[in-house]
């Protein structure tokens, strides 16, 4: 059993650390600063945390204004509301405005509570469309980290690279996948395990499942490559083309609608470079429902998102 850590804690911890050396960083919240842990940023830097109340649209546009005046704005709340409640603002206030060839404004949207693993709050709060929404907006880069080490690395990336980002975190603690100090770069998938018979591309909590599936398959003599596709946009075309050529089949896994999510990004990529069958594990155009914390694995299973299913899909490659 691997260790479990909390993404939100790491998010806020990294922001505070970066905030010490970079005074441009400001943080915005929408009545969820305790939950997202960003209140710690406000304690360390009074005046640089703005809580706008339950008003996500306003939060995004205010962030855009701060960014237009030179700030690096991190805006956070739950994924169901952000992007859910603020798509127009994300598109027209953040992504669209571009001066002198600079793509969009310097706003970082970081949401927590993505996917079915939100659990007890139910289907109204289980965001399964955010990646599809954000991927379709030009200038936005879309990140779905697997663990807290990834979060720490990607927050650094977002703080140092100009432009709009969307990063989705999970509500619950997640398995440690990467070593502490991991250095993740947008557009570069991480090969967590090499293999020749099949490739599993996963993001978020499914990365751990993918590793588990690969282990199960290796017991049956199937050699599986596992890619952490945390960078859904830009997607790592080179890694995917290599995977297609070298393993002949790709299985994608995500706790998101299979329409428009990471799996779609993978399929779009290989269909243009080296077409191979792509099987997608994920919610099949459906909503979630309440599940108590202990029942979250069962909820995921109800939507087919398990290591066993990933293994089954990958095993069918032979």
């Amino acid at each position: 059993m691997t260790a479990m850590t909390d993404m939100r804690t790491e998010y806020a911890r990294t922001l505070v650390e970066l905030g010490r050396s970079d005074p441009r960083i400001v943080v915005l919240g929408a009545d969820t600063t305790d939950s997202l842990k960003t209140s710690s940023f406000g304690r360390e830097f009074p005046g640089r945390l703005f809580n706008v109340g339950i008003a996500e649209a306003n939060m995004v546009s205010v962030s855009a204004g701060l960014a237009a005046a030179g700030k690096t704005a991190f805006a956070s709340t739950y994924a169901i509301f952000l992007p859910g409640r603020a798509v127009d603002q994300l598109r027209n206030n953040v992504a669209y405005p571009s001066r002198d060839g600079m793509p969009g404004l310097n706003v970082k949207i970081v949401s927590s509570h993505g996917g079915l693993s939100v659990g007890p709050d139910g289907g109204s709060h289980q965001q399964l469309e955010d990646v599809a929404i954000m991927r379709a907006i030009p200038n936005f880069r879309v990140l779905v980290p697997a663990d807290s080490a990834s979060v720490a690395s990607l927050v650094r990336v977002m703080a140092s690279e100009y432009g709009p980002f969307y990063m989705r975190m999970a509500r619950s603690k997640t398995h440690v996948v990467h070593e502490e100090g991991a250095d993740l770069r947008p557009g570069r998938a991480v090969t967590l395990r090499d293999g020749s018979d099949c490739t599993i591309a996963a993001c978020g909590i499914t990365v751990h499942m993918a590793l588990e599936a690969a282990r199960l398959l290796s017991e049956r003599g199937v050699s599986c490559r596992v890619l952490d596709m945390f960078s859904v946009k830009p997607v790592d075309h080179a890694a995917l083309e290599r995977a297609a050529r070298e393993t002949g089949r790709i299985v994608t896994a995500e706790e998101h609608n299979v329409m428009g999510g990471m799996g779609s990004a993978v399929a779009e990529s290989v269909s243009g470079s080296y077409p191979v069958p792509v099987s997608m594990i994920g919610a099949r155009d459906a909503f979630g429902e309440s599940a108590r914390d202990s029942e979250i694995p069962a909820l995921l299973e109800k939507h087919g998102i398990t290591s066993v299913n990933i293994a089954r899909a990958a095993g069918a490659a032979r």
Partner: protein, 530 residues
């Protein structure tokens, strides 16, 4: 800095002309909302915004955020007048590959906000203002919002936030033109007492007539010291200055037909002002007379200063004007019928006059040059007056491009109760030619015996400011007199425009552009009726 009344007037006229040119060239766009905010934009650029077109990204600049982004032609035109872009670029509005996108876009330097999706500009401005505060910059953010876009819930999210963060550096001008795309705002989604709503949200609220430069100016100034965010609820008329567009929902998002542009431009050039003179009223209660002028809806208050030397009568001096100044915001149009005005003009600046006119008979070139410099430096309009027997002196020619107003006396100054000298009409027409030749871009003011009977002929001869004496301030019902006078001038304007259209073979089409009662009136006038 003074009001710069005439400078702003000219800027706004230029901007409106550019809006017509741009939208006609583009074949689409939103003239109605561009016109309703024209005075606000003009006044902000001329007198309030700190900006440098040569350095549009200067971090210390003030920001102008156009939240009602569809009024982009109005913003671009204001920016052209302010020097950000060349006038000819307005012809590229909405063109493929151009910088002047259909809605404001950062592609164009000087544009601060990509508007278009309504209801987001105030939130964005809050971000700008918070950043300025964090950086210790005193830059202000001026926001122009529409009443239609106030339907968006985000406006009220932002209203709460600005109050919470105590953003006194934000001034919102709410362009309350009462029309949105479908229809009138109160039919589509009633806003009701919108000032009360903003007050309830914790804002400093100022209510003004958004077409009156002095009110826009005063509100912008007052907002700077409030300590809280300010909303200036500005009553405006959609399509203002072009009669067939005025208050007509059809002109929310429709471009003028290029064939009609010459007539529309002519109409824009025929804006006029009414300036009742308080000495024609009760001389023992000048304060009361100023109030009567205000209530009558005068554009300017005309102050006849007579010293008993230059002219036989004596009226009042700068002390009296200083006393009257706090009573009203209406610009004071001071007509100095005094000897040696160069020595005394500063007193009248200090007293709060907005326009100061001196007599050609009382100065020479050197003296007038000195006066002009002083007035321009103070942001006060500069005028020159000529008596019935005086032609434009040769020394005045070099100054004419900087002169804001030329008073053509139609009676001998300094004695009341005279009749309008009919020779004035011919003189005005004659002067017009000389004024054009010497680059005069100001306004001709007719002064002396002006009434409804000679309104049409003096307007036709080029007068654009009318001093009202016995026919206005001398009347018990001054409001009715001002209204009647305006109607007389407007009817003449309508006739002249129909003639202009007829010259282009467009008379019927011009008349048909006007709807309902407006069309009926034109038909009556065309038929020779009063």
């Amino acid at each position: 800095m003074g009001l710069q009344y005439y400078r702003v007037k000219r800027d706004v006229l230029r901007a409106r002309r550019l809006v017509v040119r741009a939208t006609a060239a583009a074949g689409s766009g939103h003239p109605g909302g561009s016109f309703s905010m024209a005075e606000i934009v003009g006044c902000l650029f001329a007198s309030h915004l700190r900006f440098d077109p040569g350095n549009p990204d200067d971090p210390g600049r003030d920001r102008l955020v156009l939240s009602k982004g569809h009024a982009a032609p109005g913003l671009y035109s204001g920016m052209a007048v302010a020097g950000y872009i060349g006038e000819e670029e307005l012809g590229t509005l909405r063109q493929l590959g151009g910088r002047l996108q259909g809605h404001p876009d950062l592609k164009c330097p000087g544009v601060e906000f990509c508007g278009g999706s309504l209801g987001t500009g105030l939130s964005f401005s809050i971000g700008l203002a918070l950043a300025a505060r964090l950086d210790g910059r005193d830059s202000r953010t001026y926001v122009i919002m529409g009443d239609g876009e106030s339907d968006e819930g985000q406006v009220w999210e932002a209203a709460m936030s600005a109050a919470k963060f105590k953003l006194g550096s934000i001034t919102v001008f709410l362009d309350r033109n009462r029309i949105q795309q479908d229809s009138r705002t109160e039919e589509v989604m009633p806003l009701g007492d919108v000032a009360a709503k903003w007050r309830a949200f914790g804002w400093n609220v100022i209510e003004i007539d958004g077409h009156r430069i002095e009110q826009v100016d005063a509100a912008a100034s007052a907002s700077r010291s409030s300590g809280m965010p300010t909303v200036v609820v500005s009553r405006t008329v959609k399509g203002r200055s072009v009669e067939h567009m005025e208050d007509n929902p059809a002109w929310h998002g429709k471009a003028p037909d290029p064939a009609m542009v010459p007539v529309i431009q002519a109409e824009l050039g025929m804006q006029f002002m009414v300036a009742p003179s308080i000495i024609a009223g009760d001389m023992s209660d000048l304060a009361g007379e100023v109030r009567r002028c205000e209530e009558a809806g005068a554009d300017l208050v005309h102050l006849d200063v007579m010293d008993g030397t230059f002219v036989p009568e004596r009226t009042f001096g700068h002390d009296k004007i200083a006393e009257l100044r706090p009573l009203t915001r209406i610009p004071f149009d001071a007509h100095l019928m005094i000897d040696g005005p160069a020595r005394r003009v500063q007193d009248y600046v200090d007293a709060g006059c907005d326009i100061i006119t001196v007599h050609a008979e009382a100065v020479d070139g050197a003296g007038f040059g000195e006066i002009l410099d002083r007035l321009r430096g103070a942001g006060v309009g500069a005028g020159l007056a000529v008596n019935p027997g005086t032609e434009l002196p040769g020394w005045s020619h070099e100054f004419l491009p900087s002169v804001d107003q030329l008073i053509v006396m139609s009676v001998e100054p300094g004695r009341s109760g005279q009749k309008f000298l009919p020779g004035t009409i011919g003189k005005m027409a004659r002067l017009r030619e000389a004024l054009d030749r010497h680059g005069f871009a100001g306004y001709v003011e007719a002064d002396g015996g002006i009434n409804c009977g000679n309104a049409a002929s003096s307007f036709g001869a080029g007068a654009r400011v009318f001093v009202g004496g016995g026919s206005m301030s001398g009347q018990q019902d001054i409001a009715g007199a001002v209204r009647a006078f305006r109607e007389a001038v407007l009817d003449e304007r309508r006739r002249l425009l129909m003639r202009e259209a007829a010259g282009l073979g467009l008379e019927e089409r011009w008349v048909d552009l006007h709807e309902g009662a407006k069309r009926d009136r034109l038909r009556r006038l065309a038929g020779g009726g009063a």
